[in-house]
Amino acid sequence: MSLLEVRDLTTAFQTERGEITAVEEVNFDLNEGEILGIVGESGSGKSVTALTIMGLLPQPPARVAAGSVRFGGTELIGMSAPRLERIRGSGISMVFQEPMTSLNPVFTIGEQIMETVRAHERVSQRAQRDRAIEMLTKVGIPSPELRMSDYPHQISGGQRQRVMLAIALACRPKLLIADEPTTALDVTIQAQVLDLMMDLRDEFGTAIMIITHNMGVIAETADRVMVMYAGRVVEHAPVNTLFEQPGHPYTRGLLQCVPTLEQDTSRLSAIPGSLPEPGRRPSGCRFAPRCRWRIEACRAALPPLLEQAPGHATACIRIAEVAKTPFSIP
């Protein structure tokens, strides 16, 4: 049994224009100590997937239309709010892109870490404080005893994201969901925070779901990767496979359209067109209008996510033809 088992997860939102499906038929497992990368652009459904697992979407307008999320064997979909509350923090916790809006501005950093510990464990005030200082030390905050009494605005953005990690990991959760954890950070600070997340995984065996639009962040951290486009998983593969033999034309496009420091090409290979809006998704394969491999049949039906090699699945009916074309990152 895996730590997290997500089956056919489908989440819809009620809007003025009727019900819109944000995420459709998402399936994956996550094991202890494993890092799963979920990569996608705006409207891909990557964040909604995470928020559904956490039970953090307001219902209504959101609705889990189908599917199951089992954490340690226990079904989370439909679980009562108080029970979910106990799992959040001690079993699963989450860090978000913007640490300033996730921290409470009127409480000190120390109080916020201690509050998390207090909510999930019956321990003395002294033990809460010791745990908070220990966590601040673990996430690399210098002079943690002094920083305990700082307010969020008194520390930098990179330090705030470290504090968020300290709060998220204070109760030793088995699963950490990190939604664009480094997107708001500068590149030198991003490198520090990614290193830190991997160190914490190594030390505590925490499973991590890292959600990002940045293929570089995926390459630096993930063991396995799920690529999402317009609400659906289009490819699922071990990280080396994804970067060396990507199956889906969208994955290939994403890997080839960004310039790298190593390359020296005069022109980028852009993906034409733009992302479909959630209410105006094309029929058939959602990527077909932007795909240079498309044929008539692509427009007719949604391509199923099929395993082409053990652990490597792609949702593309042209996979045999695409795979014949050699691939390399410029």
Partner: protein, 354 residues
């Protein structure tokens, strides 16, 4: 408007001398009357040749956007000079400035915030023409038409409003508006960083095509080193209001000299999971200090792995090195050769090359 394409010539299109911007910030005292200068930009010397792209990179708060806005005088400099096309425009009044502003335009990061939501695309693109004395006549409409074609938008876009477009298309409208007056210099301030990855390449390619076809000169400001490397001829690296290093783009990425440039490049994720940087590449510790109270001496010394005593008190000048870079670092100064820090620095440089 002259139709001649500016060619590379000895006189630069843009020359900055000691350009400085200090924002007064109320920091204390009764009634908060005590102000401290926030040294956003602190004595920048820079030249841009006609037809080239100068990339300007740095992390948040380094002053790169303030510098870009000062050049087109959206922000008034505290000190220094801006010489555009041989004319000192630093202190020109609004009227005199208008003539020169035709020649320099800006493209902003956020195509959502930069376009008036109540104006049609035609009105948005035509507005600069009207401000500069043209009439909304057939010729102006033809000009809008030409601009739409130039940036790859369909003619039917002219009657639409910004919210009807995707981020990439909105940025095309922003570029069309910037180009309608036929400028020679375009300041591009993070023009692709708000866009989805799959759309960024389209805009980068468009900017390159426009430069080739119209002979434009770009100051390309971005925090993304990979994009800057791709589009630039030369790259300037900024840190806390100062320039740390300037060099040809290939040289600066293949052989970075300033320890900050080296750290920036080392921090960029590699698109290869078999070459993860954790544990293999040098990380710089700590955060960027506040521009309200920048460190004395070299501003990078608080994070530099090769800091020497001199770095804490003397600000290093931006001087040419033997490799043709301009570098502001005491490690380049032969007077410090043989010190422990310079020995470690040179050893690290040799290790990187193998």
């Amino acid at each position: 408007m002259s139709a001649t394409v500016p060619l590379l010539r000895p006189a630069p299109l843009l020359k900055l001398q000691g350009l400085t911007k200090h924002f007064p910030i109320r920091t204390g005292g009764i009634f908060r009357r005590v102000t401290t200068p926030l040294r956003a930009v602190d004595g920048i010397d820079l030249t841009i040749q006609a037809g080239e792209t100068l990339g300007l990179v740095g992390e948040s708060g380094c002053g790169k956007s303030t510098l870009g806005r000062m050049i087109i005088r959206l922000i008034e400099p505290t000190e220094g000079r801006i010489i555009f096309n041989g004319v000192d425009i630093t202190r020109l009044d609004m009227k005199a400035m208008r003539e020169h502003r035709r020649g320099m335009q800006i493209v902003f990061q956020d195509p959502f915030g930069a376009l008036n939501p109540r104006m049609t695309v035609e009105d948005i693109i035509m507005e600069p023409l009207l401000i500069h004395g043209a009439r909304a006549d057939a010729a102006a409409r033809q000009r809008v038409s030409d601009m739409l074609g130039l940036v790859g938008l369909p003619q039917r876009a002219r009657t639409r409003f910004p919210h009807e477009f995707s981020g990439g298309q909105r940025q095309r409208v922003g570029i069309a508006r910037a180009l309608v007056l036929n400028p020679s210099l375009l300041v591009c301030d993070e023009p692709v960083s708000a866009l989805d990855v799959s759309v960024q390449a389209q805009i980068v390619n468009l900017l390159q095509d426009l430069q080739r076809d119209l002979g434009l000169t770009y100051l390309f400001i971005a925090h993304d080193l990979s994009v800057v490397k791709h589009i630039s001829d030369r790259v300037a690296v900024m840190y806390l209001g100062r320039i740390a290093e300037i060099a040809d783009k290939r040289a600066i990425y293949a052989n970075p000299q300033h320890p900050y440039t080296q750290a920036l490049i080392a921090a960029v994720p590699v698109l290869n999971p078999r070459q993860r940087s954790r544990g293999r590449r040098v990380r710089i510790a700590g955060d960027i200090p506040s521009a309200l109270n920048p460190p004395p001496g070299c501003r990078f010394h608080t994070r530099c792995p090769y800091v020497m005593p001199v770095c804490r008190s003397v600000e290093p000048p931006l001087d040419p090195t033997a490799t043709g870079h301009l570098v502001a670092c005491h490690l380049m100064d032969p007077r410090h050769a043989g010190e422990d820090a310079t020995i470690r620095y040179q050893a690290a440089a040799r290790a990187r090359k193998t």
